[in-house]
């Protein structure tokens, strides 16, 4: 203790040391190894050697650009859907639910308490070919008599939307909840219609929540492979499925590493562009 008294400036570093060390060893260093691995060539049987094999990157892009595009399109649609579905819902909770707010919030995060894989599998039951949803859609001729939902992109996007919706809903709720009711009264006093008050007061003030929610939904969605695997077919596979199978089934580590790096780079570039557009403070809190 007396040591600390004599070296007061050390305290923050001592507090930081274990956590930073852990993150450096098991988050930063692995990314370095991933980069190293991505520039190796060879096969699993003969072993891999490092030789600046940038061709892994070109091959990854030319062979799997389809899966990359699909990942970002699916994640984009799912993010927008999650926002559209959750915004009115949390708006209602923040402004109309009164003393039951906390109960409704628990209901919103409730899906997260069911094991991810199990709640995704539940959609297999719901969207099954003999199930009520498909039956109804066939009756009203949205689907043909042999039409199905499982094994289509609709099912995969729906699954992703469902799984990440709470990550959109919560930050949006927090930003709506913090809005000072007097601002809305002021808007009303100044003869704003309900619509104008919403567009010019409520919506801009909830923007930080939308920004945070978009990131929290889009990033995991773009890297997801579980929904495509369980609810789709290889025709719906996203880049996550390719990385997963190359790493764990095919054991082609260099190209799997290159694919992972490209995915991360694309997300980081998107993140930076987004940060420039909305301001860094909002991102890192």
């Amino acid at each position: 203790m007396s040591f600390l008294h004599r070296h007061k400036g050390l305290t923050p570093y001592l507090l930081l040391l274990p956590g930073i060390l852990w993150l450096a060893l098991f988050f930063v260093a692995p990314l370095g190894f991933l980069g190293y691995q991505s520039l190796q060539s060879g096969t699993f049987d003969t072993g891999y050697t490092f030789d600046w094999a940038f061709s892994n990157y070109w091959n990854a892009i030319s062979d799997y650009h389809e899966q990359f595009v699909r990942s970002f399109v699916y994640a984009g649609i799912a993010t927008i859907l999650a926002l559209l579905v959750s915004y009115p819902l949390v708006y209602w909770i923040a402004f109309r639910a009164g003393r039951w707010k906390n109960v409704f919030l628990i209901l919103i995060v409730a899906p997260l308490f069911v094991t991810y894989l199990v709640r995704t599998l539940a959609w297999l039951n719901i969207l099954a070919d003999e199930g009520p949803v498909v039956g109804f859609l066939r009756d009203i001729h949205v689907l043909g008599p042999d039409g199905r939902l499982l094994a289509t992109s609709v099912a995969v996007v729906a699954g992703i939307t469902y799984n990440f919706l709470p990550f959109m809903a919560l930050p949006v709720y927090v930003s709506l909840e913090q809005i000072d009711a007097r601002l809305l009264e002021a808007a009303e006093d100044l003869y704003a219609s309900k619509r104008q008050a919403f567009l010019h007061v409520t919506l801009p003030l909830s923007a930080p929540g939308i920004v945070a929610g978009t990131l929290l939904t889009f990033i995991p969605a773009a890297g997801d492979f579980i929904n495509a695997q369980l609810l789709g077919t290889p025709r719906q596979y996203m880049v996550g499925n390719v990385i997963q199978s190359k790493f764990l089934d095919v054991l082609d580590y260099p190209s799997a590493a290159a694919l992972s790096f490209i995915l991360m780079a694309l997300i980081l570039v998107g993140l930076l562009a987004y940060a420039r557009a909305v301001g860094t403070e909002r991102l890192t809190g």
Binding site: P12, L107, L117, I126, F247
Partner: protein, 281 residues
């Protein structure tokens, strides 16, 4: 028309909740199903057998135990590391603060598959055998950031007057930390730990990469999904769900009680800044 307008939003909220809760209802319902074949997709009749013999499918019991063990040890470790990080970031000004914030933020904004893949590359290159230990390492790594964020939020609006009061009354830094800071932070640390535990026992993607032969509950489900998922998987998932909801309700009630207690206290708590401080002896 007015009637429709007034009821549009509540009706929408009701439908949205149905959508959110339907899969949960399905999971719980099918835990009571008595499928005649191997597939648990169609409702065939009510039974309690799955709940009574929840450990009948081979491997499920050890997988659940593994998940709980990993959840506990990695949560404890990550909570300690994360709380220390949060204290350093909120309480101290130091060189590299921005970089530290970034380092904590990045794991949360990296897709899980990249985290898992990069850890596996590290373990392969350094010839570290994957199993319980590597799952533990990975879970602590991805939980730490969430702990920091949760504890930080509480530390920022922490009333430092209480600590100053303790110091004025002669407590040294360590005693102040133990007797004042830590008890006041306890609710935030507990929430962080609960969140961390929930993240740990639910994690599939990262665990899948670094698990080696070790099987956790999500990995068991993944393996089962390739053939046929036994109804006992629904039983375990339903049980986890119910415990989580109970804990959540308890947390909310606790928060309400604490707030009521604060509100009913006489307004003697705020200490005017201008009050003369006793000279240290």
């Amino acid at each position: 028309m007015r009637w429709v307008k007034r009821h549009l939003l509540p009706a929408y909220a009701f439908l949205a909740f149905c959508y959110l809760l339907l899969p949960i209802a399905v999971v719980i319902l099918f835990s009571f199903n008595a499928p005649s074949g191997r597939y648990n997709y169609v409702w065939e009749g009510f039974t309690l057998d799955n709940w009574i013999h929840w450990d009948a499918p081979s491997g499920i019991q050890s997988a659940v135990v593994k998940s709980l063990e990993i959840g506990v040890v990695s949560t404890v470790c990550a909570t300690v590391l994360g709380t220390l990080l949060a204290l350093a970031i909120v309480r101290h000004r130091f060189r590299g603060r921005g970089a530290t914030n970034m380092l904590i933020f990045l794991p949360m904004s990296t897709p899980e598959i990249v985290l898992g893949a990069s850890l596996l590359t590290l373990f392969l290159n350094r010839q570290i055998v994957t199993g319980f230990g590597t799952i533990f390492i990975a879970h602590v790594m991805f939980i730490v950031s969430y702990v920091v964020v949760t504890v930080k939020a509480r530390l920022i609006d922490f009333d430092r007057h209480l600590e100053e009061a303790a110091m004025d009354l002669g407590a040294n830094e360590w005693v102040t930390f133990r007797k004042v800071t830590l008890p006041l932070l306890a609710p935030a640390i507990l929430s962080a730990a609960l969140l961390g535990f929930a993240l740990s026992i639910d994690d599939f993607v990262i665990t899948y990469f670094v698990s080696g032969p070790t099987q956790t509950f999500p990995l068991f489900v993944w393996g089962a999904a390739r053939v046929a998922v036994p109804p006992q998987v629904n039983v375990v998932a339903s049980a986890i769900f119910m415990v989580a909801v109970l804990v959540m309700i308890g947390n909310v009630l606790w928060g309400l009680r604490a707030r009521r207690a604060r509100e009913s206290m006489p307004a003697a708590v705020p200490i005017p800044e201008a009050l003369p401080r006793p000279e240290p002896i």
